[in-house]
Point group: C2
Chain length 439, copies 2
């Protein structure tokens, strides 16, 4: 049996338990916080202006908008808004952002399934995303692919196929039609096209299942063999043998688990940001006392950080560790506003120019294994003192409820609904709250 | 200046001449022949059933259908039908099918431009497709990417951007938004998902320009550098230095030029098919006199032929050189019907099982240079005789007018319109003929 069909059988047989479901509930909280906040930006308004005129008739909700449209356009828009701030969840095995791909696809695909079943479908989709990421290995991302979309397309197809209860052979077709649409280059990081990649993947996953249901098949072994998805997209680190063993035991959502971001900038800056904020809290160095900053990564640990020390705007600054450390020093915190479309100040640029990156060549190369991740920040002060801090894990938020309440202007009703919902009626009520709320 | 911006400047300055325009007119003839014939198949009907329900309102023509829809859905459908039979044009530098990507994108994007300008935009888009193909080199295709879609996305964006008269910086953004959507795996060859790849690319090109016009930018250097499109997707054969020199002198549509297929099967089988038909015409061997067939390719020359000697249907048989040679021997010709959804006969399978492939290891590896292509067919007859023929070029049709008349049931009015049209009114008349004709 082909590897693709074996994966499809694992997907079809998946029955996530209570722990996974609780984690999925937090993930939905985090996704909605990001999408609601993201729907207010001018980049989302421009994206909406591109896609609404061609939208078909439909009743699918567009978060933060009065528009009700066909499911695929809704999937595009709700994925864009979820990733617009780059503040949404991250998964190490996938090396990307699953929530803003999977939830929009599931919201658009839902035909009356219960709240619990939608959350379970998310767990299944995330399992596929994580397993595909492990199978591709680190080269996929390092060479230039944006895993949120390349991996996300097949994972979203799997999540939607599971939600619909398709049999294994049809799930294999959906995986095939999803994976063959997997595109997106990291060269778009720091631009307003990065969230479009999430949108591409959400749409691809939904359309994959729509095509299967219309009777299209495609190869049922697209992941397999020397020219299949894993070998082709994994380069020299492809490891198809990592796809299936240990499936759901524990679920990828439980271990390594999702990271809910504290800061609205690239995860690859977070250990360094945590280290800098720790040094500020402990030693209170003033920005003008800092003569030099050195930030040390494992080899490959700064692959995502394609913006150098001179970003033009906060959006570009999301991918500049130099800017992140400079803003932390200047502001003594990292607010969402530090990463908006405002031009970067001269003070931040001057400070960012004093930051140097290096790799610790004695450390293992950063991979899809979160244990390989670290950052060390060393400050040299003008009086000659040296302050140093090493962080070995992205801390993240254990519960994104505060983030959600901030994003919605303290909508406790909506939060309580997400926290408790189980049934079909519960999910319908979520949608009506999302549609009626002052978002 | 980035390579992407340099390419954008070349595109903006392009002014195709009369020779290129005449070739583009033949290409449109060939595309419409294939789309009209392709729109009758059950695979197209299934594809239409997947995408029409979500279509937006619009007046864009769907070839072979009464539907009038939003431009992006029309681009999807008109690209699918054009590639459904795998009978459409091929370009060696691109290593793919440009017409069925570029024309649907241009038809959907047109806002009243003249017939001549649409044909010129095709020449420009094909130049980009060919140049990108040469820059990626042979590894892109051989490792498993389907260049029709991966290369086609950026090329379609360029064609539409040129049609709209965008300035170079906006063309660079369109290239960026097109290329970042470039996906599609060769593993789908022999399935009804292959034409979806052409559809993905046509839609991607159109949407790229729609997004630029709505104010999205993206990276203006996405083709560049070690993680850019060319380096990432070209593997070890990436050659960005081949992108620009000699631009339009001659145009890629003039040399190496387009191949208009004689047979509705993969181009990689055509030299072998020509050789077999030549041997049949010269020596008239009966099928049951043939004990063994050996077909020799340059190394990599059968990369596209992913179906082995036992296809289940004629559609799969498009990618089986063994089946193609067997059908030629049985039928003494290769009709379009040999490659439809009918199950393969026992006689064809028995004969296909007697065909062996080999590579001539002394020949240069097959690349994007058409001079590297050849096939040699050797028949061993039951009486011990050996018949041998070598073909070094895909012959193709010099003029696809007969193919067009066959596809349309002898619609000479429509053909004459394509052959002569120049003005805005001429193109409008083409559309009304396409809409009204019994297709």
């Amino acid at each position: 049996m082909s590897l693709t069909l074996q994966l499809a059988e694992h997907i079809a047989a998946s029955r996530p338990g209570a722990g996974a479901l609780a984690a999925a509930r937090l993930a939905l909280t985090d996704y909605l916080a990001c999408a609601i906040a993201g729907s207010r930006g001018s980049d989302f308004q421009r994206f909406k202006a591109a896609f609404l005129p061609g939208a078909g008739k439909g009743q699918t909700l567009v978060i933060g908008s009065a528009a009700r449209v066909d499911p695929t356009t809704a999937a595009l828009l709700n994925a864009y808004s979820g990733h617009a701030l780059d503040y949404d969840d991250v998964h190490a095995s996938m090396r990307g952002h699953p929530g803003t791909v999977l939830f929009p696809a599931l919201l658009a695909a839902r035909r009356g399934e219960s709240a619990a079943r939608v959350l379970e479908a998310f767990v299944v989709g995330l399992e596929v995303a994580g397993r595909l990421g492990l199978s591709l290995g680190p080269s996929h991302y390092e060479r230039g692919f944006h895993a949120t979309s390349t991996v996300g397309s097949g994972a979203a197809a799997a999540a939607v196929a599971w939600l619909r209860g398709l049999p294994p052979q049809d799930i294999a077709k959906a995986l095939s039609l999803g994976a063959t649409q997997g595109a997106g280059l990291r060269g778009q990081f720091g631009t307003e096209v990065k969230p479009f990649h999430a949108a591409m993947a959400a749409r691809a996953g939904l359309e994959a299942v729509v095509m299967v249901e219309a009777g299209l098949s495609g190869s049922e072994s697209l992941l397999d063999g020397p020219t299949g998805f894993i070998a082709l997209m994994g380069f020299d680190s492809a490891a198809p043998e990592k796809l299936l063993p240990g499936w759901g035991a524990p679920w990828q959502i439980e271990a390594p688990g999702l990271i809910f971001k504290e800061f609205a900038c690239c995860t690859a800056t977070h250990c360094a940001a945590q280290a800098m904020l720790h040094l500020i809290a402990q030693h209170d160095p003033a920005a003008d006392e800092v003569a030099a900053v050195t930030v040390t990564f494992p080899p490959g640990g700064d692959a995502a950080l394609i913006t150098g020390p001179a970003p033009e705007t906060g959006v570009e600054g999301r991918f500049s560790v130099e800017y992140v450390l400079a803003r932390a020093l200047l502001d003594r915190r990292l607010s969402v506003a530090a990463f908006d479309e405002t031009p970067v100040s001269a003070a931040a640029l001057a400070l960012a120019a004093r930051v140097r990156r290096r790799w610790d060549q004695t450390a293992p190369r950063q991979s899809n294994d979160p244990k390989t991740r670290f950052a060390e920040v060393a400050l040299t002060l003008t009086d000659g003192r040296c302050l140093k801090r090493r962080e070995t894990a992205v801390r993240g938020l254990s519960d994104p409820s505060e983030k959600f309440l901030d994003a919605t202007g303290q909508n406790h009703t909506l939060l309580a609904q997400i926290r408790s919902m189980q049934s079909v009626a519960d999910f319908d009520r979520l949608l009506s709250l999302l549609a009626s709320a002052e978002l």
